[in-house]
């Protein structure tokens, strides 16, 4: 490519990388929680994000609520959906080989996408709430992306505070460290699993709600997010919760840099090559996760 790369362009992609990285971190944290606590690989994570985006879309277009204020509603709604899924199906594959959870959640995933297609069609839908950018020191800062960034940082911080300081959060971390010892300590592990799936779905929904303000939404939008969240948690170390932050920012930066130096279409390829390299050097991720 014979495009001259100026320092301002590099600054711009780093900025964009951080903005999208925060969203990746938020969504991937949810996936990481489920994997850490239950060893379940949730293919339906992206479709749950898509459901969150639809909740925001309908609250905005039908009821007229400020889309950023719908984030908690969307998260609460998907928290309930998560509880139901765990209660009805997913708990049956906890502790089973990974093939069972992969297939079961794939089944849930295509069923969810199909249901949304049937109910709301495959049309692209947009939430046009904030548009345009601020120009700061020669860098363009997209308004919706920046506010989405603030929200994702806030939600992620809240989630971490919950995990760190509350009794339930401590119980979740204890269960993810050792299921048996948690049981011995009197933690109701089945309930923690339920709570974790709900929380994870809520985090996905938060990501979806914010994404709805940034891009057009449609039923198939989720699958790429499942894949990206996997990249993030494997990069950071699966089941290592701060690792999701590092992985998210890393993926955001790598994608943006790849789109500057190569092309946007190849950003996934670059991220995948990065993943394979990381796994070769550190099979449990950058910050060290748990092995199978």
């Amino acid at each position: 490519m014979n495009v001259v790369v100026t320092p301002a362009m590099v600054g711009q992609v780093i900025l964009s990388g951080i903005l999208s990285g925060a969203l990746y971190a938020l969504v991937a944290l949810g996936l990481s929680l489920i994997f850490g606590v239950m060893r379940v690989i949730n293919i339906a994570h992206g479709p749950l994000l898509m459901l969150g985006a639809y909740v925001t879309y309908f609250l905005y277009s039908q009821v007229g609520i400020n889309p950023f204020l719908t984030v908690p509603v969307s998260m609460a709604a998907l928290f309930v959906v998560g509880l139901l899924l765990q209660r009805a199906l997913v708990f049956r594959v906890v502790g089973a080989p990974e093939l069972s959870s992969l297939l079961l959640t794939f089944g849930i995933s295509i069923a969810l996408v199909n249901l949304v297609q049937l109910a709301f069609t495959s049309n692209l839908r947009t939430v046009e709430y904030l548009t345009g950018s601020w120009i700061i020191g020669g860098l363009a800062l997209s308004k919706p992306r920046f506010i989405a960034f603030l929200f994702s940082a806030a939600v992620t911080a809240l989630a971490f505070a919950f995990l760190k300081f509350t009794r339930l959060g401590k119980a979740i971390r204890a269960t993810s460290q050792s299921r048996e010892v948690a049981l011995v300590c009197g933690i109701n592990v089945a309930r923690i699993h339920l709570l974790t799936f709900g929380l994870s779905s809520a985090l996905a929904a938060g990501g979806g709600a914010l994404l709805a303000v940034i891009v057009a939404i449609q039923p198939e939008m989720g699958s790429v997010w499942t894949f990206k969240s996997f990249l993030v948690i494997v990069l950071g170390g699966a089941g290592n919760y701060p690792g999701a932050l590092l992985g998210g920012l890393l993926l955001g930066l790598v994608e943006q840099l790849a789109s500057l130096f190569l092309t946007t279409q190849l950003s996934e390829v670059v991220a995948y090559v990065l993943l394979v390299l990381v796994l070769l050097v550190r099979p449990t991720g950058l910050l060290g996760g748990r092995s199978a």
């Binding site: 994997f35 060893r39 690989i41 199906l89 049956r92 594959v93 089973a96 080989p97 990974e98 093939l99 069972s100 992969l102 297939l103 079961l104 794939f106 089944g107 849930i108 995933s109 295509i110 069923a111 996408v113 199909n114 249901l115 049937l118 699958s223 790429v224 894949f227 996997f230 990249l231 494997v234 699966a238 092309t263 279409q265 190849l266 996934e268 390829v269 995948y272 993943l275 394979v276 796994l279 070769l280 099979p283 092995s291 199978a292």
Partner: protein
Amino acid sequence: MIPSRGAVLAALALVVAALCVYPVFGTGYGIRATLQVFMWIALAGSWNLISGLTGYVSFGHVSFFGIGAYTGAILVTSAGWSWPVAALGGGLAAGALALLIGYPCLRLKGPYFAIAMLGLNEVLRALVSYFEGLTGGGSGLSLPTLDASTHIYYVMGALAAAVTAVTYLIITSRFGLRLMTIREDEIAAEAMGIDTFRHKLAAFLLSALGPGIAGALTARDQGYIEPISVFPLTITVTMIVMVLFGGKGTVWGPVLGAVALFVIQEIVWARYPYVHPLLFGAIIVVVVLAMPRGVLGLLQLRYRLPRAI
């Protein structure tokens, strides 16, 4: 009651003979459907080699099918090869990809391997869409028209038979025993002196050839391919569910599963076209929750059948 070896062989010979003469009097739809069943037997049987026997869950096995399809199609359109040779080329390309990707990824354990394979599939789709000059990108690749359905029927049938025969040979060999040892306990296998990495790589290579050839044959048969038609996760999941339904780690499980699931799908899809992902999702959930051992696995457990069923 277990039928004698002679009776089984006779029944098998009868089925093969019937399938050989079928194109002479079969309808167009019948031949086409049987061809598809052959394809699924080859795909499911191949997945069974790495994941059912060796225990490494490949969640991106459609990658080999897709790379075979594109290699075959490009060899036919750009290089002007005849389709049977191009099909071999598709198999070789898939084998090369298996070596390339297996070398780093087979060191990964459990879910990490599954995710790495899932990623491979996404990446190949992105690459194929990007290199438009060679692959036609998102608008796909058309092959010159040619009516070779009957010929492809025989070749695909031979491929399905070959994959099943190779599975039988592996399961009854020491090589197969070593693979199953890796599946049950890799560290113990290592301690017993098995070179686990080379065994895994060999099983992975074998499991890639079938889908590669099947992909090239399918590309020729359908005459048109595009990234979303040859790299969907659904194909991977379908072959997995077929193996699970029939019984993973068995010789006849993938065959039974491919036939049964194909028939179910044909009946259900034709009747309820708009909700078929929903119904497929339901089938997956039922198979995973209700019959993780599969039909043959249950029979093996109940009637103490031989390993090489």
